[in-house]
Symmetry: C2
Subunit: 158 residues, 2 copies
């Protein structure tokens, strides 16, 4: 009877894990038209919100490490979507700028969210509530997990 706690279908983590991969699969055909993978698309979202951000800053937004971002950004650069340049004030940092091509991609991506909303079988209100609950869950897990190495990401503030 203690077994119920170890059943797969009772695991919130598994629901998240499998739903996240299902989302990635759903995005894939649409993103392929743009020449982007799903994680690359997330980086582009960040850059469309603000050009010229550092690797560090992008990692804070996406909760990713430089060891993940560096090769990903190189692929985005090779695809002609962004440029990587050492900062002029501080040569340690690398600033990521959209190319004309990368900027243009935003228009092509604009139709995707509505399609994904449809695929989710939720209305906008439910989706928003669910998103906030999941974001709060992520924050709680990060907080409970404690600092981790934290060269990037997590809460910072204070």
């Amino acid at each position: 009877m203690t077994d119920a706690l170890l059943q797969l279908d009772n695991q919130l983590c598994f629901a998240l894990h499998s739903a996240s991969h299902a989302f990635a699969r759903a995005y894939k055909p649409r993103l392929q038209k743009l020449g982007l993978t799903y994680p690359q698309y997330l980086v582009m979202l960040v850059l469309w919100e603000g050009d010229g951000q550092t690797v560090n800053r992008i990692g804070e937004r996406l909760f990713l490490e430089s060891s993940t971002l560096t090769p990903l950004l190189k692929r985005l650069e090779a695809a002609g979507h962004v440029t990587r340049r050492r900062g002029v004030e501080d040569e340690r940092e690398v600033r990521i700028h959209l190319t004309e091509r990368g900027r243009a991609l935003k228009a092509a991506a604009a139709e995707i969210p509505a399609q994904m909303l449809a695929a989710s079988a939720l209305d906008a209100g439910e989706l928003g509530r669910l998103r906030e609950e999941i974001a709060a869950l992520r924050a709680a897990l990060d907080a409970a997990g404690g600092s981790r190495s934290r060269p990037m990401g997590s809460l910072n503030q204070v």
Copy 2:
């Protein structure tokens, strides 16, 4: 203004993606004591529910392909948690059996769910509701995404 739909913090997919990774990070130190990675733990959950399942069946439960499971199961075998044997009736299939060691691991894992519940900052009821909503979302995405190759997983029936 159309921009709101492309903002990172409005993306349900990103909330899921980042929460899923946050969960994996939260599990990691506890699973390391058991000598398991997080995906390996999910496989063990499946096997603790029923020993001797085929690779195909495990893939159906976890929504994973044989190309993911085969090497993972080989690592579980190398670690002494499971055995892999060709089926006797049907030699195409490979049946995964727990070793004594793999069975014993269940007792050690039994305390983890309560710890993760605490880390989630949710009560059991909220967690259950959230889990079901996310599972329904996954199902909707799979349905909308359509069949996919489907050598494994998805809905089958009928």
